[in-house]
């Protein structure tokens, strides 16, 4: 499986395009801004975009969704059931903080913990990791974890926005993510990739 990271927008949010090189079926995790950067890659590599999956509903992860949906109407937009209301609530998505108007489409489907999302030969398992927001999720496929704003290299997501909770993020990271294999590669919503083993030893918030 090929994984490509495109950093977009003022907050340099990571948008990940993952695809298998046989079927050319692609899945995108988060699309915070600059939709043309994302679609350029898809066009250039002749990919068939099946899913746009949102790790959570903050504006810096969802803002390019409406333009991508216009361009790829067959791609299905998914978000955790507890997070769906973020797409229509500017206070929850923090969109009322940004100086430009944010258009967000409705989700095509919602998922729950342990649901599977398959593209080509790859299957992603949804891991519900509340804390940064109530419906924040990570996605695991073999040794690849897309961690959204839950776990960063040596850091964690903020918990001071609506529906955020420090005890919940601690539980999500320590009791769920840190139980994964140490070699699991972590691709966060901002900043560089890391691994579960590295974070267990070096994370500034939770070390075990």
């Amino acid at each position: 499986m090929k994984i490509v990271c495109i950093s977009v927008g003022e907050l340099q949010s990571n948008s990940y395009i993952l695809y298998d090189e046989v079927y050319k079926e692609a899945i995108i995790f988060d699309c915070g801004d600059e939709p043309e950067k994302i679609s350029d890659y898809i066009e250039k590599h002749n990919l068939n975009l099946k899913y746009i999956i949102l790790t959570h509903g903050h504006f810096d992860h969802i803002m390019a969704a409406s333009e991508l949906k216009l361009k790829y109407p067959d791609a299905k937009l998914g978000i955790h059931a507890d997070e769906e209301k973020f797409l229509s609530d500017k206070t929850l998505s923090l969109s009322d903080f940004v100086p430009y108007s944010v258009k967000i489409p409705a989700a095509d489907f919602t998922f729950e913990n342990n649901d599977k999302i398959t593209t080509g030969t790859n299957t992603f398992t949804v891991i519900h990791t509340p804390g940064h927001t109530l419906g924040s999720c990570c996605f695991l496929c073999e040794d690849i974890l897309i961690s959204g704003d839950t776990l960063f290299k040596q850091s964690i997501g903020r918990c001071d926005f609506p529906t955020g909770s420090m005890p919940k993020i601690e539980n999500s990271i320590v009791n769920i993510l840190y139980k994964l294999n140490d070699n699991t590669k972590v691709y966060p919503g901002h900043g560089e990739p890391t691994t579960i083993g590295y974070e267990k030893k070096n994370n500034c918030f939770f070390r075990i």
Binding site: S7, E10, L11, Q12, L94, D96, F97, V98, P99, F152, S155, R158, H190, G191
Partner: protein, 179 residues
């Protein structure tokens, strides 16, 4: 790349100042710039002022006379430098500054906002609208269909210049028979 040689010695404080200026997106006083920059970081005031002074010398920030205070603004060259080095500002700082600057901008917004514009409907008519928004709530909305772009422009201008009068007259007319 012309900026490559600067990469090693380019202090992050300068990038932080440029980031605040870019996101504030209009001229700002030294006082407010310092407040926004220092509140969310552990940068020392004098260090910040020194960097700001150097940014002026490098023409990445410009200073002009304001009344009563002088105002700072990022230059196009400054924006290019920031774009080139943007990954150097750690996300945790960028995130805090972004919200601090936008919260400040929000607090400066007028309490009520008048929006007037028009769009073309499918039948070729021009729909001109007037909206009065108070805090984030829609207080009043009026839509009129006109037959030409010229009329639409004139109506839009009339709405803009007489918004409050239209609002007051309409509400008075509506309310006078409602007991």
């Amino acid at each position: 790349m012309p900026y490559l040689k600067l990469q090693k010695e380019f202090p992050i404080i300068k990038l932080i100042i440029l980031f605040v200026l870019k996101n504030y997106n209009k001229p700002i006083t030294n006082h407010l710039l310092s407040e926004l920059t220092l509140k969310e970081t552990d940068i020392d005031y004098f260090n910040m002022q020194k960097c700001l002074y150097e940014l002026l010398g490098e023409n990445w920030v410009r200073l002009f006379k304001g009344d009563p205070n002088n105002l700072y603004e990022i230059t196009d060259e400054g924006k290019k430098v920031l774009e080139y080095f943007k990954t150097k500002v750690p996300f945790i700082i960028r995130d805090k500054l972004f919200f601090a600057v936008n919260a400040q901008l929000k607090s400066e917004e007028p309490q009520s906002k008048i929006i007037s514009d028009f769009d073309v409907s499918e039948n070729g008519q021009f729909n001109v609208y007037l909206k009065i928004i108070e805090k984030d709530d829609l207080l009043f909305e009026l839509n009129i269909n006109v037959g030409s772009r010229e009329l639409a422009l004139k109506t839009k201008e009339y709405f803009e210049n007489n918004a409050m009068e239209i609002y007051l007259n309409t509400t008075q007319n509506v309310m006078k028979d409602i007991k």
